[in-house]
């Protein structure tokens, strides 16, 4: 009887905790909406030119950026390229693709590396030029660049069959955060 009462209390507590609405201003709350209405620039997902992959769904992209997919279809290992924390491009990827904040992203990779499920941690690069060079040099690399930073040394991958210039493309960097 006592055990049953404990279980009932437990289930009630669980329902209470899980059902509570998210608190405004929590560090785990996604970035606020108003800035999303500001002018923005498409963020292109780029891979090495030798990569045969042309199109990724948002779901696949998320798995790639979370390290849940570690190999390309040709068997080559995926090397993830990220900008430094705080960069608008990184913020866009974390918010729109990973659906995580910075701490969650770090913990996710720390946890994944610890369990062995994630093979390598992302390479952190400081500049768009650095990203471009890295992706150009490393056949299994995938990264992201503002469309204006893309040149013919890298290949743009469609996301949900859309190119960055296409209407409905989901990844945009907020221009207001760039300082440009």
């Amino acid at each position: 009887m006592g055990r049953l009462a404990s279980l009932l209390i437990f289930v009630g507590l669980a329902a209470l905790l899980l059902g509570a609405p998210p608190r405004e201003g929590s560090p785990f709350t996604p970035c606020p909406g108003p800035e999303q209405t500001l002018p923005s620039q498409p963020l292109a997902i780029v891979v090495n030119r030798t990569n045969s992959v042309d199109d990724l769904s948002m779901s696949e992209l998320r798995k790639v950026f979370l390290g849940e997919r570690s190999h390309w279809p040709n068997g080559r290992r995926i090397t993830l390229v990220m900008r430094e924390p705080g960069e608008p491009e990184r913020t866009t990827i974390l918010r729109d693709v990973c659906q995580m904040n910075e701490n969650e992203f770090k913990n996710h990779f720390l946890h994944g590396l610890f369990t062995g499920e994630i093979l390598v941690s992302p390479k952190i690069l400081a500049t768009p030029i650095g990203v471009r060079k890295f992706v150009f040099n490393v056949p299994g690399a995938i990264g992201y660049l503002r469309l204006s930073d893309v040149d013919n040394t890298v290949k743009i991958v469609r996301v949900d069959e859309l190119l960055p210039e296409d209407k409905g493309y989901k990844l945009h960097v907020e221009a207001a955060r760039t300082g440009n």
């Binding site: 929590s26 030119r49 690069l125």
Partner: protein
């Protein structure tokens, strides 16, 4: 006056185009009269200049080669060829000037050398560019795909060579290390139990496991993982204390060489955490990663009185099962299984010698559906045959299932299992059921949590003479004081069969470094 500029065909065409034929005729006549002298003078100058230049250039070429060697050596000593290539300065030309200019004053350089532009997107280290002036002069803007392809092939080759050189460089380690640790203050009212040598609980500061987690990318396909843990005794195996109190010892908890063929097939050999259920392969030996101060009793380590074969030595295969949005994964393991000789006080993990030829097998499947982010649900079946001395062999089957939801704000972990021991040749079967359920919710930096756990082993259970009944709730709160430091305060209430119930309070600081 620059002679070559005046006699340049393009200059002549410009003069003709501007409608100044008289001037052109005058210049042509002057050239006819003066040219032989100029030619002789020029030839003499050229000879003199070339001798000097040759000496200077040869000397500078030597310096340049030395500089290139130095840069290449520096490059290999940096954190990795990838990062070197990627972290090249924003303006490649600036980098080249900075590194080469001191040895090559611009005024004394050949025009071909100093004017050779390095394309902004060039992958080639800028400092190497001057040793290939022809390439730079002939094709200063490698925009065509053909050139890019050639450069890329060269780059890949260079990269491979550098990576190989890095791996062959014995002067530096390829290890990456992360540490985990915890310190606790524990107190409670558990009473002494002479039957199990359990002493009365005292309030104590307790050093937790110091966990050094190391990984190494041996190659693109091979990876090494280890977890080396320093922990203080006493070890307690199946209720028997087997090591002195307060004495530190070292355990290699994980020791894995992993080959990753693709996402569908990864095979590993060594010692790992057995893929039974969820908790065992999710948190390993880190308390910082866990929400609570410790593992559920079901998943306690073997040397802390846990009932499961937490570690296995052998081979394991893991990977995805093509299943679309269902996100199915498999785990298949074969290993030595647990030590089963009586008395059960030796090392429970058979690291080197198995006590029988029979191997333990474990197979599990779990799903991570795309539609329900954070949900993982699955089952596993483990089978081994234990061989106690002076007794019939015992068939051990462990069936486990789990359903967990882990999201940023909340987690809900649920696991249940049955450990089934049947004595071969006898009709006796012992089923030990157990479960735990844990829920937590994040509020800013605070995460209150609650757990209820239960395990019930029969009094006559042949392998677990000490476990009996253990159940009770735990409640606590975790406070993330910084990115990698967590403070936890937990209360446990434990109910045992034929023994007084007891409470425990734990204050813990867990961290990663």
């Amino acid at each position: 006056m620059n002679f070559f500029r005046l006699t340049n065909p393009r200059s002549s065409r410009r003069l003709l185009a501007r409608g100044r034929p008289p001037l052109l005729l005058l210049l042509t006549g002057w050239f006819t009269l003066v040219a032989p002298d100029l030619h002789a003078q020029q030839a003499a100058d050229v000879v003199n200049v070339d001798k000097q230049s040759l000496e200077v250039l040869l000397e500078r070429l030597d310096r340049l080669e030395a500089r290139v060697r130095q840069l290449e050596a520096d490059k290999q000593q940096s954190t990795g060829v990838h990062m070197v290539a990627a972290s090249a300065p924003y303006h490649s030309n600036n980098f080249r000037q900075a590194s080469v200019a001191p040895a090559f004053p611009a005024a004394s350089l050949s025009p071909a050398l100093i004017s050779a532009p390095v394309p902004a997107n060039s992958f080639m280290p800028a400092s190497v560019a001057p040793v290939r002036p022809q390439q730079a002069t002939v094709n200063p803007t490698p925009a065509s795909a053909q050139t890019a392809t050639a450069q890329q092939q060269e780059s890949e080759q260079s990269q491979t060579e550098n990576v190989m050189a890095e791996r062959m460089d014995l002067s530096k380690t390829l290890l990456r290390i992360r540490g985990f640790g915890d310190v606790s203050l524990v107190g409670g009212n558990q009473q002494a139990n002479p039957a199990t040598n359990q002493r009365a609980q005292t309030t104590s500061f307790a050093l937790g496991q110091l966990d050094l987690f190391t990984t190494s990318d041996i190659s693109d396909k091979f990876k090494f993982i280890s977890e080396i843990v320093f922990e203080a005794g006493p070890d307690k195996i199946y209720g028997v204390t087997t090591s002195p109190e307060n004495t530190f010892s070292v355990d290699v908890e994980r020791y894995i060489i992993q080959y990753s063929y693709n996402d569908y097939f990864n095979i590993s050999a060594g010692r790992w955490h057995t893929g039974i259920g969820f908790y065992n392969t999710a948190y390993h030996h880190s308390t910082w990663l866990q929400t609570t101060t410790g593992r559920p009793l079901l998943f306690q380590f073997e040397d802390r009185g846990g009932p499961l074969p937490i570690h296995t030595v052998g081979v394991t295969a893991t990977g995805l099962i093509p299943s679309g949005p269902l996100g199915l994964h498999y785990v298949a393991e074969a290993g030595n299984g647990r030590e089963s000789r009586t008395p059960l006080i030796s090392e429970p993990v058979q690291n080197v010698i198995d006590d029988s030829n029979h191997k333990a097998f474990n197979f599990g499947v779990f799903a991570r559906p795309e539609k329900l982010r954070g949900l993982q649900t699955g089952f596993s079946v483990y089978h081994d045959v234990l061989s106690p001395l002076n007794s019939n062999r015992i068939s051990e089957t462990i069936m486990a299932m789990h359903a967990v939801v882990i999201r940023s704000r909340y987690e809900w972990l649920n696991e249940a299992m049955v450990i089934r021991h049947s004595i071969i040749g006898e009709p006796k079967v012992y089923n030990t059921p157990g479960f735990y359920s844990q829920v937590s919710r994040q509020f800013g930096s605070f995460r209150p949590y609650f757990r209820y756990q239960y395990i019930n082993a029969a009094r006559t259970e042949p392998i677990f003479p000490d476990i009996g009944l253990n159940e009770g709730p735990s409640a606590g709160i975790r406070f993330d004081a910084s990115e990698f430091v967590a403070l936890k305060f937990q209360y446990d209430y434990t109910v045992q069969r034929n023994q007084p119930n007891y409470s425990t309070l734990t204050l813990q600081i867990g961290f990663t470094f």
